[in-house]
């Protein structure tokens, strides 16, 4: 029996031959008792594989998996909301910063008129305003980051 025939016999038992191959194997088995016997052995093995016990997951495992996915989905939704909120806040901060220059210019002019004396460079005041804003935002980000880290450790 050639290696190719042996392969065909095994694959026939596995139901993995095309029609032409299956016909050729059937014709050969009619003429070759040795191959017919070997084909029977392969069929027995294939049947044994099909009859193997089918292990199932425990109910608790499926429930845990579902809880895990639900928690993951909730976290994903929260992250998406946080990203959107952050994008909005960054946009708002830039708008205020740009708009702030116009306001600063007007207020500084008005103030200088009312005080009847110069109040210094508007650009310097504006720069101080921006730096103060960045420092406050940085401090808030650090505090939020620490809080998130602590929450992560306690979960």
């Amino acid at each position: 029996m050639s290696g190719h025939v042996a392969e065909l016999l095994a694959l026939a038992a596995a139901g993995a031959l095309d029609t032409g191959e299956a016909d050729r194997v059937a014709a050969h088995l009619g003429e070759c008792p040795a191959c017919a016997e070997r084909a029977g052995e392969w069929r027995n093995l294939a049947d044994a594989l099909r009859r193997l016990p089918r292990p199932r997951p425990e109910r608790a495992l499926a429930a845990r998996a579902r809880e895990m996915v639900e928690a993951g989905l909730a976290e994903r939704a929260e992250r998406a909301f946080n990203r959107a909120a952050l994008a909005f806040l960054v946009g708002l901060a830039w708008t205020l910063a740009i708009f702030g220059w116009v306001v600063f210019d007007l207020v500084a002019g008005e103030l200088a008129l009312r005080l009847a004396r110069p109040i210094g460079s508007v650009a310097a005041w504006y720069a101080a305003y921006l730096v103060a804003g960045w420092l406050a935002a940085g401090a808030a980000a650090v505090m939020l980051g620490r809080r998130a880290q602590e929450e992560g450790r306690t979960v």
């Binding site: 052995e41 294939a46 193997l52 016990p53 292990p55 996915v69 939704a77």
Partner: protein, 184 residues
């Protein structure tokens, strides 16, 4: 398949009832596949959970025109093979320790043990992960050859060759553990 499509659409919208439906229909098959591939119940349970999490994360990439089960098995397969590769790169092709012959002094008991599916299961468990995978997909999940090839990500002739090699190795392992005089 329509139920899968509806549940996948629900899950896409963040509705976890879609997940419940998909799990009800596919969890047994997924678990069995992972158990056979990984050969360890606790590891299979871990990857089982990770797979469903991956399903939820990637459900938007699922093409609802195609059956859900092969997509699910592909996700599970990638996770499981990554895990096996991380543990030991050679473990995919590696076989387990040779099995001891059936124990017990009573010849009848031994003969019955030889015939039992437990023996086939033990021999299957001693094959390499890739051999176990192809056999469980074909005989337990009853995937047709084209689906089998698609799931494994190989051409049809390669899938056929892998199926034959796995069967031949299983037969050889069973023969090696048979009692003297019954080596076939």
């Amino acid at each position: 398949m329509d139920a899968d499509r509806e549940d996948a659409a629900r899950l896409c919208r963040g509705d976890t009832s879609g997940l419940a439906g998909l799990m009800d229909r596919h969890q047994d098959r997924l678990f069995r596949y992972l158990l056979r591939l990984l050969g360890d119940r606790s590891v299979a349970e871990d990857v089982f959970q990770q797979t469903w999490l991956r399903v939820a994360e990637r459900i938007r990439r699922y093409d609802a025109e195609r059956p859900f089960a092969p997509w699910l098995v592909t996700l599970a397969r990638n996770l499981a093979l990554d895990l096996l590769r991380r543990r030991r790169p050679e473990s995919l092709e590696e076989t387990a320790e040779p099995l001891a012959p059936p124990s017990g002094s009573d010849p009848l008991e031994r003969a019955m043990a030889r015939q039992s599916s437990a023996r086939v299961e033990a021999a299957l468990g001693a094959l390499s992960a890739l051999d176990r995978e192809v056999l469980t997909l074909r005989f337990e999940d009853e995937l047709a050859l084209p689906e089998l090839a698609a799931t494994l990500g190989v051409p049809l002739p390669t899938a056929k060759a892998r199926l034959y090699r796995a069967l031949e190795r299983l037969r050889a392992r069973l023969a090696a553990t048979a009692l003297p005089g019954r080596t076939r």
